[in-house]
Symmetry: C2
Subunit: 321 residues, 2 copies
DNA sequence: TACATGACCTACATTTATGCACAAGAGGCG
DNA sequence: CGCCTCTTGTGCATAAATGTAGGTCATGTA
């Protein structure tokens, strides 16, 4: 192995199962991957992959090479992390991953404020659906909605959340008698999430009249849309439900505990100025909005949310000064 | 770190302490090393070395990178070894390291025979003075003159050796009275090795008349030359001394134990056909010459050596058939 | 069977990296 | 002090790797 870089190609080919996939991942042409692989195989005097019509399958020697390549990759990632951890500069890029549904207006405003405060820090938002790996430094900071984050990550819970049932005003009006327990025979249609039918969360329908599934989905965005169309009521976090102008809390059903929000980073990065500064800032901002995430008791919920919004604006402008 | 190969350059620069040295080791132009290093530093956004007049000295970040590079290198070496260990082919290169002084005629004949038997195996003799590292696969097989080889190596002792005092016939004739203990006043001049004056081997001069240093050297080749010139007697292995046509054993001094000969390989390579075959062959050949390495008692020494040579030729031709 | 698709290989143009030659600067030494 | 050697940095020609485009093969589908 005179050329350490060839292992990178071998690893990519193994992971993607073919030259084309590897080329995509590596950001090069597939011909390059083919040639690099051929070079490595010539140098080693072994075939690392058997060429099949369905792609490239590692030989025994290939598997040996792949396992070593994985260890090398781990060391490379560790080096990247170690170098990043030593980074004392105030300026530079900061990759932040956030669940797409959290990246709403309030958050966007936070980012705007942060950029105003720290123009040198180049915040890069990654609203990817897949969970990015902080250990591989796919992001520097993660905002996560989870009960318990990986123990190997460093950070804190910034706010608990509560969830409730939301529906269109027309829906609430139509089923008024059911909500007020005058009509005990009609079942309330609701938007069901696919995951619920594998294992139903405990207490999901407690304190509700009888219900029935109106439609199933596995996507929160479409669920909200369906709810807005009046197809059924949807269970969602108080933040999401209450911030939707076309939805209202269904009456007579209290909020219940939901998944908390965490702000996390890789332990090695916890002393990097950019990272600490961003985490401190965003944690404060989210905490200040706690009422939005938690909601208030029953009837006063809407009013309270509005006043929270006002409070938030006050804080934001205060920080911006 | 998008380019894993740049770590190789960093490591070489760190080890050699400069661009030129690294370039020599890597077998490339120093300009290439400089550019690769610059590229890596740009990518990381850190300087790995501070440029001094005396060379390049690693920064803190550089030390981090170097330590990671060392681990990566270890993995690369391990991969090489693992791939070599899986090598089932009868053909290919086989690197053999041997102390230069052992690479004499008999050994050369062995190699010639081996090549005749296995034309596909491309034996590469490394008669380097420095001890090559089998763990880094600088050689596949090592023939070593040592009391106890590294425990991490695999192989066996093929013959013990005995050493004696040798001198030119003129020298022996001149000091005949001293050797025969008739002249007890004259000290015998001998060629001293520098190492002896740091810590004298036990029993070096036992059973010898009084001696004095004629000249000191740290090199066996020159010591032999000096002895041939009649400057003094030299202590050397029986093999070396007896095979020199211009030297004879000094009378009245018995042979004594010397360092044994081992044939060794890396444990991972012990099942590779080329390696096992070579080790078996060379061990047999050396063992067959045991009388040469051990010598015989006193007076009959020369005669015995000659008959051994004859025996050896018989064996060699037998194998060659 | 014909067709479309995906994956790989190959020939050629182009970009990129490398080696070479030279210049500048820093010790070492008579 | 000047001379020498060693090391590093910079243009320029060359060599090597890469991208592009076309071709082949196998597979799945109408």
């Amino acid at each position: 192995m005179t050329d350490w870089d060839s292992l990178r190609y071998i690893l990519a080919v193994a992971r993607e199962g073919g030259l084309s996939g590897a080329a995509r991942v590596l950001g090069v042409n597939h011909a390059t991957v083919s040639r690099q692989l051929a070079k490595a195989e010539d140098a080693a005097g072994v075939r690392f992959f058997t060429r099949l019509a369905s792609g490239l399958q590692p030989t025994e020697a290939g598997q040996v090479a792949i396992s070593h390549a994985e260890e090398v990759e781990a060391r490379m990632v560790a080096l990247d992390m170690a170098l990043a951890a030593r980074d004392e500069t105030e300026e530079g890029e900061l990759k932040v991953t956030i669940p797409p549904l959290m990246a709403e207006d309030n958050f966007a405003e936070d980012i705007k404020e942060f950029k105003a405060l720290h123009p040198g820090i180049d915040v890069h938002l990654l609203g990817a659906t897949e969970v990015l790996n902080l250990h591989r430094r796919e992001a520097d900071v993660a905002i996560r909605v989870t009960q318990a984050p990986e123990e190997s990550l460093w950070g804190r819970m910034v706010t608990p959340q509560r969830a409730g049932w939301f529906a269109s005003p027309e829906f609430v009006e139509r089923y008024k008698d059911v909500f007020e327990r005058r009509d005990m025979d009609t079942a309330l249609p609701y938007i069901g999430f696919s995951a619920w039918f594998a294992s139903t969360p405990a207490g999901l329908f407690s304190e509700l009249p009888p219900v029935r599934v109106a439609i199933k989905t596995d996507d929160m965005v479409s669920a909200m849309s369906l709810a807005r169309q009046g197809m059924g009521m949807v269970r969602t976090s108080h933040l999401l439900g209450s911030s939707d102008p076309k939805l209202v809390r269904v009456p007579g059903v209290p909020l219940s505990d939901h998944t908390p929000i965490w702000v996390l980073t890789h332990p090695d990065l916890r002393h990097v100025p950019r990272v600490t500064e961003f985490m401190r800032f965003i944690a404060n901002r989210i905490t200040a909005r706690r009422a939005l995430y938690m909601g208030l008791d029953e009837s006063s919920a809407n009013a309270a949310t509005r006043s929270d919004g006002a409070k938030l604006e006050g804080i934001a402008s205060e920080i911006a000064e």
